[in-house]
Symmetry: D2
Subunit: 396 residues, 4 copies
């Protein structure tokens, strides 16, 4: 079998040299990210349960969690949640296999509670959340599950990936990660963070929204001080990724005179008016990048066995990273992989590699290396699946 891999030169100016660049990351406590996290954690828990019981992962897709915002009344020193968040876990999963019933809903709820505790440290999961589940019946065919064959693609769809990250992308991604570290010393930092990066030539502007947690902020002065401290930290932190000038602002809609600032009881805006849904936030690489090709397939919650919308996105990213790192002479590499429903997942309809070579580099000199790496990855989907089971691949 020879895979349909096409490597082509992409004749465009590398993003780093373009005038304008937009990059966004939603933090792990953003309502859309929480929905993503729930979907993925439920899928992982189901994988583990299926493996434990049957030695194989059965059919499931839990990629449609919906968070309906609550209602709260934050106040310096500590406010209250008036109406709990309503979270609907949906999707489908194999409920019966070899005449054994699998407690799908119980597993889903357990996994969801765990994720909520991890992602939203100030949320009282017992009393501030209504956790509902409507998980339908999926079915798994015995032959498919225990056959030796490579699974067939569940759908005709595609995944995309690219490498390396630009400076702005690195900054945006890592700023959110850093704030989660900083939270240890500044507990007022809530997990609901949005970092919007806009590079205009050699100026990088970061607009950060961060839900501060009311019980850790005594008054308006502390609020303003905390904000200043965070902004200064971020600007300083960003310097390791760029020599460009970095500016940052936080919670720009605040009106301190009128007493209108961004505080929350729980650290997430889902407590008051902001709904969340799977697949509406970060792409599988943790970023939203309108200057880059993106897939609209939600990665989170999909089964890692035959759902190409998940597998091809993650595989494209990993392969692109490796190509960019190991094949010399590459400025940027973009991968798109298209499946055809019913065909083996390791034989995509087409796998397109587009490369922006470094100046003076001939695309021909790069084709073999790139092809080989991607081919290797396509042949190693089970390895990728193992990484997913073990939680080694982040998906949002």
């Amino acid at each position: 079998m020879k895979r349909n891999i096409k490597v082509e030169r992409l004749n465009q100016r590398p993003l780093e040299q373009q005038e304008i660049e937009l990059v966004e990351r939603k933090g792990i406590g953003h309502p859309d990210s929480v929905a993503d996290g729930l979907a993925e954690s439920i899928s992982r828990a189901l994988c583990q349960e299926y493996l434990d019981r049957f030695g194989a992962v059965l059919h499931h897709n839990t990629d449609k969690t919906q968070i309906v915002a609550g209602r709260s009344k934050p106040a310096f020193g500590g406010g209250e949640v008036i109406c709990p968040l309503y979270i609907l876990l949906t999707g489908r999963a194999t409920r019966v296999f070899k005449e054994e019933e699998i407690p799908v809903d119980t597993i889903a709820i357990k996994a969801a509670r765990k994720l909520l505790v991890e992602s939203l440290s100030n949320l009282d999961v017992n009393n501030h959340v209504i956790l509902d589940a409507k998980i339908g019946m999926g079915s798994s065919d015995l032959r498919d599950v225990f056959g030796r064959k490579v699974p067939s693609a569940n759908d005709t769809s595609f995944g995309v990936g690219y490498a390396p990250l630009s400076q702005t992308e690195n900054i945006v991604y890592n700023t959110e990660r850093e704030l989660m570290n900083l939270k240890k010393s500044i507990p007022a930092i809530g997990e609901d963070i949005k970092v919007m990066g806009m590079r205009q030539g050699d100026e990088i502007n970061l607009t950060i929204a961060c839900a501060l947690v009311d019980r850790y902020v005594a008054n308006m002065k502390e609020y303003a001080d905390t904000k200043r401290e965070i902004v200064e930290h971020v600007i300083d932190f960003a310097k390791q990724f760029t020599s460009r000038r970095v500016f940052a602002q936080m919670n720009v809609a605040d009106n301190i005179e009128e007493g209108s600032v961004y505080i929350t009881v729980t650290g997430t805006s889902a407590e008051m008016g902001d709904d969340g849904a799977v697949g509406r936030g970060n792409r599988a690489n943790g970023l939203i990048t309108p200057n880059r090709p993106m897939s609209l397939e939600a990665t989170c919650g999909k089964n890692p066995i035959n759902h190409v919308g998940k597998i091809y996105n993650l595989l494209s990213i990993e392969a692109a990273k490796q190509i960019a790192a190991e094949v010399q002479g590459i400025e940027e590499v973009y991968i798109k992989i298209l499946s055809q429903i019913g065909k083996p997942i390791d034989e995509p309809h087409i796998a397109s590699v587009q490369i922006v070579p470094k100046e003076g580099v001939d695309i021909k000199s790069l084709q073999d290396g790139a092809t080989e790496i991607l081919d290797e990855w396509l042949g190693s989907i089970p390895k990728l699946q193992q990484m997913l089971f073990r939680g080694e691949l982040s998906t949002y």
Copy 2:
């Protein structure tokens, strides 16, 4: 006020000349599109109600509808729906204004029923759907609503648009539209269609998934005949958009020998296992285009007054179309507009226009024309809003 509009040359090979191109469109009966349609129709109904009662559109966002799939048993000649679809309408809307209560849920349900009837002609809305609503309270500030001022951006986010469509894009988009026409003579065509277009050099491959409606298909032979007829029609139809070779396949996972084919009772896969959610399908221009910049903001269901995620996406598309049509010498034009929360929506943080000029054309000769058109559109947001109220802008 001078708007921050930057026009830059995009130094890349036009998509039409690249080797590989992927394009997808989900038809109006695809679960994700139905969710989009519901979200948008509810927003429109609310806009109309608010305008009728108060002369102004009040705050709302209804962009989080969730469709949980049902369970069905299709059969040639007519099967049955075992478990109804569950549809959860969520979001928030102003429920009380000037001490008057607005029947938000009743309006939402009425609009949702209407959309379902229009989008899924074979669905029995009375008995095959559980229509639930959890729409929270939004609030509208009297000064904001009736002030003379331009509304402020609700968030820091961006919209993107481009023009013109490529051949493949045109084919993919119009194929689905054409099948909705063809439905008049072939009633077995369900509204749940997915057209995946893959262009490799000068070959365009269309992979069509189309849920046939069981009551209009007597047996396996009729099924095969209908499929053949549709595929032939599509190939013929596509010729008006390209001189490239066009191939098409439909329902490729069918196994006619084993009797496993894609028929449905209602014309949508949501009847059996396929969930749907807002913002997971087509972008505002009706396509999914990984080779193009895309926004992840769901356009459907957002309020058209201050939600930049909606306004900037639609505005970028319209402006790009006009620039491509009226400014001579343009191969491709890409627009990205970034807001900053709290700032007037007609004064974006940045509006970036990237142009791939026709060969030999100097970007300088295009800048004034492009700037002027985009500036004009940014100054005409109320006009765009009117188009939305009147249903003149399609959003998915």
Copy 3:
């Protein structure tokens, strides 16, 4: 087999001769009655479906419907429903039998819609109701269903019945029925009626609550006129049942001066604040009678095959009626039948008949007749079931 039937003299003054008597009836549009009606109509529809498909009624119990009230703004001439009623249909039913799936939810929803239309003529079922269903899986054992044996009691519980009705009971019951007739000429009469009858010696006081329908009442004067007309009609109507003095009042909490009267958009208080549940309203004979023995088993929605809570209540009533009618010398007869789980339903643990004989009548002269009739009924449970399938027995 000799059934354990005990006939005993009840040494008490007949209710008609006691000083005080309380009787209540909730009309068919009262939220609790609507819940009862939904439960029963779903059970009937399932029975019919099971009979059509398999020739036998399979296991089900749908006796737990819950109505969560909506929110409305009635107004003379026609108001509006602000938030729809939420109705949750629950219970369990056999979903798969002989490898055939039964569309339980679809059947339930269809039956529920029909009942709502019949019971609440002014309710817009499409837009004023959210109809949800969470019907669990029941299971039916092949041997039980098609065995020749009498079914076994599903539980240890009892049913009660008595006859004849007192004057006050007759008046209360028939007043509500008559208002449903009167509705043809006075369309403002809503189906949500509550008739409370209190007899003190020889005075019977009726307190009627009746939700008038706003669109048929132009103004306060019409409201007052309609009320007067209804009250006069009721007093006149009641005379056929008694020679005692009858008084009646309607909507006594009205405050016409302050403009606070009992009008509704839909004819039921469930539109605004009054929830409803199965088994909380009328007993199986259509009345609530604290002066009489009552069972707390909800009759509505239970399966008529082996649920003694349903069968024994209905059977007791029918047998009591027949005994009172056919055995000479009886003032009052009370029947209580107790099952034991797992025993054949036609062999109750005990069937107790208590008789208040007419003056001078010896209980011994009544025992054989009463025993025979009750024994006959216990042997004719299949006949009773047929009456239920055909809708000939009212249950609330």
Copy 4:
């Protein structure tokens, strides 16, 4: 003001001397009792919150909780819950008062979790329950709340009570209570108990259903032993209440040969197929007594301020107890109190006292004492309310 209290002789044989008597009690873990408990605990928590915030109890009624059964797979030594129970808390409550928002849903959920933990010690509230809330808006009128006036009856309805308990009633009630004690030494006893007592002449038969908890029962032999131990304990225990012969059976539907016995994971049948609802189980005195007058008003969850369905039931029971205890010469006393909507709750439409005097006692000698005690209670409704706030009155 002279209250309309009528004391009349009830000319009937005391229940203790009648041939047949039926009595039932559902234990605190029975699905209907759990629903009752939830409803009442939420009302209590709201009362406390309203008192703390405003010094007065605001309008609410939370008497419509619905429990939809889950699905489980019990097994000796410990099985698992497959699908969690779904619990819907409904009703209405004042959400805003004096411009302050009260976190009604959060309070309800917190109270519900606490009740579940207390009532079902083997239920994993975090993972085996979906706790949903749809609590509507109630409204409280400032004048009503802080006026000096006695509250007006919310409805035209009645309460009933009687005293003393018969031997069988005492046995049935206390058997369940005793099993909750015995649970300390026999942890396999689940809280879902149903005790059905049937007295036929001088034989009292107890039929006990008790959900044993699987993790505390190693095998069938232990099951049988445990059952035997419980039955023996109960028979012995009952002797303190009667000199009649007492028989007892437990879990009579067990078929030990076929391995079909009554074990559960959580101690309640709600884990598998048995739904529960408020007001469907015990009356306010903790019993179901078809030989006694009963009210169908659910006592649990109703507001203790003006809901006569709650107040009059509890007051009738307390007054009857006191009359039976303090007025000499009484065999049985029955009280029925009827309100009229809008009238002060301490001035019922009628309060009827029916007394079965001891042999040879003239009713006239009892009338003053009975009237005085009931009049005193009607004048002491605030005292009764205080007892409810403090949880001193059991309601199911």
